[in-house]
């Protein structure tokens, strides 16, 4: 379990996310969309990044997930510099070390809740239909309170249930970090409270770091209530370290 949690050589755990001098702008456009001097998130830490809409929060997450390359600076995920791995290797790293939760969840239609989680295991770790995979899927869904829905097609689930499946999928491969992009924006306030709580608990149980971005002021309250740290506008702080 410890090794899978990203324990580095000699048992010293690498930082889940280490960003330095990160800048990004689209080719040909003048202003920086993302400009983060330094950001370190350690294993098990959780941080809420709040910033107004259009400030580049989603772009930051895409940079951290390695689906977008920085214009300047470096990003290391679980001790691996993203710029040192490319192509299929980076895809594999993302599958194994990074989990993502989206505002609209992006569950694969036509597949059951269980299959959606199993898909992450198949692509991330390459396990297929093994007992270990099956037990991981039911453990996660159970922990998020949707265990009995494993065999149901995701299209038949309520929005709240889908959100839980999405969190379970993000955690499937025991990632070093979960990146959540407005994960509760599709939920009503009551469900959003519970969902935030569950997401934080689930990440804590797996010792996964959590970086959550939101423009919703209510999210900050939920996060603090649930024991998460907050960074108001990561783009304007010189050095951001987060206490858990």
């Amino acid at each position: 379990m410890a090794a899978e949690d990203g324990t580095g050589p000699g048992g010293v755990r690498a930082d889940a996310v280490r960003v330095s001098g990160l800048r990004f702008r689209y080719a040909g456009s003048e202003p920086w969309v993302v400009d983060v001097r330094e950001l370190v998130v350690r294993a098990g830490e959780r941080v809420l990044v709040t910033a107004p809409s259009g400030a580049g929060k989603s772009t930051l997450l895409h940079l951290l997930a390695g689906v977008l390359d920085p214009t300047e600076g470096s990003i290391a995920i679980d001790g691996t510099d993203l710029s040192s791995v490319r192509g299929a290797k980076r895809d594999a790293l993302r599958g194994q070390r990074i989990g993502m939760v989206f505002q609209t969840f992006h569950l694969l239609p036509g597949f059951t809740a269980g299959e959606n989680v199993a898909l992450a295991l198949s692509f991330g770790i390459g396990e297929q239909g093994t007992g270990a995979q099956r037990s991981r899927v039911s453990e996660l869904l159970g922990r998020l309170g949707v265990g009995e829905l494993a065999e149901r097609p995701v299209d038949e689930l309520s929005v709240g249930q889908q959100q839980r499946v999405a969190v379970a999928r993000a955690l499937a491969c025991r990632p070093a970090v979960v990146l959540a992009d407005e994960p509760t924006a599709s939920l009503d306030p009551e469900n959003a409270d519970r969902a935030t709580e569950l997401m934080l608990e689930a990440c804590a149980a797996d010792r996964a770091a959590l970086i959550c971005v939101s423009h919703d002021p209510a999210m900050r309250e939920r996060f603090e209530r649930a024991g998460g740290g907050c960074l108001d506008d990561v783009f304007s702080v010189e050095t951001a370290g987060v206490k858990s």
Partner: protein, 428 residues
Amino acid sequence: MSGVSPSRIVLRSMSSRLLSTVITVLTVAVAVSLMLLLLGLRDAARDSLSRGTGNMHLLVSRDASPLDAVLNGIFYASPPRAAFPMAKFDQLSSSFPFEWAVPTQLGDSYRGLRVLATTDAYFDHFEPVMGEPWVVAEGRIFEDTFDLVLGSEAARLTGLGLGDTAVLTHGFSDHEDHEGHVHDEYTFTVTGILAPSGTLHDRALFKTLEATWVVHAHDNRKLRADGPIELTKVEDLTDRERLITGMYARVFSRPGRDSSAAIQQVFDRLRADPTVTVAQPAQQLRRLFSVVGNIEGVLLVMALVVLVSSGLGIMLALYNSMAQRRRQIAVLRVLGASRGKVFELVLTESLVIGLVGAMLGLAGAVVGAGLVGGVFSARVGLDLTPVVLTPVGVYVALGAVVLSGLAGLIPALMAYRTSVHRNLRPMA
């Protein structure tokens, strides 16, 4: 709960667009079936027509054209237009260097099957397939005037056996219930059944020339007489009543030497005789094939067009689905699938469509071949059952799979190039 393998993703993707998938699979199947049937039919037609001329070099008749002579005289298409006296046969056969010559007469039928009147020489010299002489499976060849010998198929179709009797019908009536004139004064007895030769001759019944002369002479005399007359006998026949419609002949040739020059010489001399039509069956068949070949070419091109358009159909179906699938593909990439993997998934989908289509097409062609063969043997009396499971057939099926793969390349490339970042941005 079972794991989710890539093949499962492909199947799920296909079943989520079931109608489109089924239609594209069917177009591939139809194209493959059509192609295989056409190819098979062509081969069957060539094979069937090439057999049957056997070791004959020349065919003499009084048909309108040499092609008619071959179609009527060897393939029993319709009764020859005109007859000529047996004396003409005797004259021709003695004045040319023939290895053998056989007189034939066509015009009667039994339950839609052709009856060929001839002599023992037909069985002794004419080989329906080169190098494969007739074999008598049961009984014997003619001993009496009203003996009847059956081709293997004729025996099977009529159910007649040795010792059974039959009366023949005037003309080629193709239907049992057709009211033809029945020569019911004369009864024939089955005395022999031939082994199969794999040619149209197997569907024929054989009788003696004398029998056919007597039957027809009697009919004519009855027409001319006022009252009832006595049965006509062989001894009563006049030379004008001894008519035949054809002559099979083989030009004498020394073993191992090319006989084409000798055949051509005899052919040219016979052609100078304005009272007969002479044909070199092999040449006529080549002509026939070249005419039919053009039609085949057109049909094959059409089948190819269907095949190519089925490929385009696959491409279009996948291409259209890409719009909805971009987000899905982006999600798979987030879950750790590489660009190569998503390329592979889409390509696999097109290959699966091609493979299922090709297999259905093969099955369809096999069923279709049976139907086509049945129709042809019932209507034309030719065994044209196409053989579809040939190496060429397998190549056609494989070609369809390859084509499907090619059709999947562009959509697969689109999947490969799908931007994760652009497709996972929160909706505006």
